[in-house]
Symmetry: C2
Subunit: 288 residues, 2 copies
């Protein structure tokens, strides 16, 4: 079966054609301009292929409540041209097929659950550490949506006693995203993350905040595995640093077989940065 | 239909007989001694009544994984006499009926979902602030269990800049429970919470920590309502203080109809401290 996959990010949009096994036959990437320009290009692309359904993983905030009048919309995004854009309706009309719809990070979580590092587990979380920090939550065998999709990238943390950085989040200053996203690293240290590879203190501090957040996710969500992806996590030296601090912060409070082996509990994404687009294929499959 | 309800706490155990409508016909309370003494008394009580099933809400940690060899056990509790006690098996044998089993706080959450302040909602959380702090999570229409039941009472928080208290949690010091449980209040201020009713600064600080935790629960779990119960929440002056600080800490980041009206979003338990035992009746009903 042929499915369309659409990963909509704030700067670029990836469109792919694939199947129910996560195989991708072709893909294109286009810049995110206005909906008028960009949506027309996307629709034209998918119309060339006999897809059975389209799966969309979108930047947000988006409305995922199927009983809501604005279901399928991008809602209050700071990218003003896209605010109140009805993505699902648009593609339903243009492509006349079922549309699966979720957040970009939930799509990545679903990709990892279906084919990647969380395969076979009925509960896991996927954390992306990139331009923003987002968390996709898979629980009891499905992606979690509550009042709104979770926004766990913005949780409040204790500052490191020696960190005087004021934080980059316009809403909360020093929330996780404000302290540990790629742009926060760049702003704090005055250089792009990629140029700081050999600075141990950068990654120690990064691991300090990610570990603290992970401890809170463990205590609140109790996932069976934690997957970390996104640009910043290409710094794989972070993994042992994070595991060590998670262990210390938990203080032996929770004892489970999963936590006994943090090397298999806190792991990198397993799909070579294709978790998002592959997750969109699965969103498409689930929509029919 | 007649059901048994068993709320097992660290200091006392409540047994009740009721029905599928949450009506309680009679109940007894006995101290928590050793399993040998206490379990025998409980079994004798329930044997006098023709119950169809028993619902147990227990202190923990307990094993809720039905595929685990220790399902139904109290596992690593500091109350050593109860460690590795197989509650479910014991009552199944003694009473020859189905046994529903969950944590005490999940039972309270279920009580509130079924008959109380969260009635009709498919996602909510129940926070008890008492001797400990616990959180019951109801999501997508069922109680959340992950790797272990969530232990969200122990999340890590930012200390208030003027609070030098070292915290009371033996595992984490200044986690939420270590900073804001009843015993933490008593330890910090040198008096029982009930004797501090008129001290505004006590409740301001208490609200500061509870609000911070609630913000993180909102961002991670996105519940449609938050219910607060337990001894400390009898100080109802906390509610407006908590709502005000939650609003400030969220910083306008999340906009939903629920958050527009915090008076109906963050609310007291609705079952007069019977949420736990009534939830056990529902656990019993769900087990058959
Ligand atoms: N190899 C790398 N090492 C460290 N940081 C990186 C690396 N690659 C990208 N980043 C940082 O990650 C952020 C981009 O995240 P990415 O996940 O690639 O995209 P996005 O989050 O926008 O989808 C930037 O802030 C960038 O500095
Ligand atoms: N009315 C009250 N006001 C303030 N604190 C209270 C009140 N009642 C009980 N507490 C505090 O709550 C804690 C007991 O919590 P409770 O929920 O009653 O029991 P438990 O958590 O043990 O099941 C004690 O630390 C006590 O000081
Ligand atoms: Zn933020
Ligand atoms: Zn703790």
């Amino acid at each position: 079966m042929l499915f369309g996959a659409l990963e909509a990010g704030g700067t670029k949009i990836v469109c792919a054609i694939g199947n129910e096994n996560g195989e991708i036959f072709e893909q294109i990437s286009i810049p995110t301009e206005t909906p008028e320009i960009t949506l027309t290009k996307i629709a034209a692309y998918f119309k060339k292929h006999p897809i059975e359904a389209l799966g969309i993983g979108s930047f947000g905030p988006i409305d995922l409540d199927k009983t809501s009048p604005t279901y399928g919309f991008i809602t209050t995004t700071p990218k003003l041209a896209w605010a109140n854009c009805n993505l699902v309706e648009y593609f339903k009309k243009e492509l006349c097929c079922p549309i699966g719809f979720d957040t970009d990070v939930n799509a990545s979580a679903l990709g990892e659950v279906t084919w990647g590092s969380a395969k076979g587990l009925n509960s896991s979380i996927y954390i992306t550490v990139g331009t923003g920090i987002g968390v996709g939550v898979y629980q009891n065998g499905s992606l979690a949506h509550g009042m709104l999709h979770p926004e766990a990238g913005h949780i409040l943390l204790a500052k490191h006693p020696e960190d005087s950085y004021k934080g980059k989040c316009p809403y909360h200053g020093t929330c996780l995203e404000g302290l540990a996203s790629g742009p926060a690293i760049e702003d704090r240290w005055g250089q792009k993350a990629i140029n700081l590879v050999s600075e141990m203190k950068v990654w120690q501090l990064e691991a300090y905040y990610l570990a603290q957040a992970i401890v809170n996710y463990i205590l609140i969500l109790s996932p069976k595995r934690i997957i970390l992806g996104g640009g910043v996590m290409h710094q794989t030296q972070l993994f042992p640093l994070i595991r060590k601090q998670v262990k210390e912060l938990l203080g032996g409070y929770i004892q489970t077989k999963e936590l006994d082996d943090l090397d298999t509990y806190i792991v990198p994404a397993g799909l070579n940065d294709n978790q998002g687009i592959m997750g969109c294929l699965e969103l498409a499959r689930l929509s029919i």
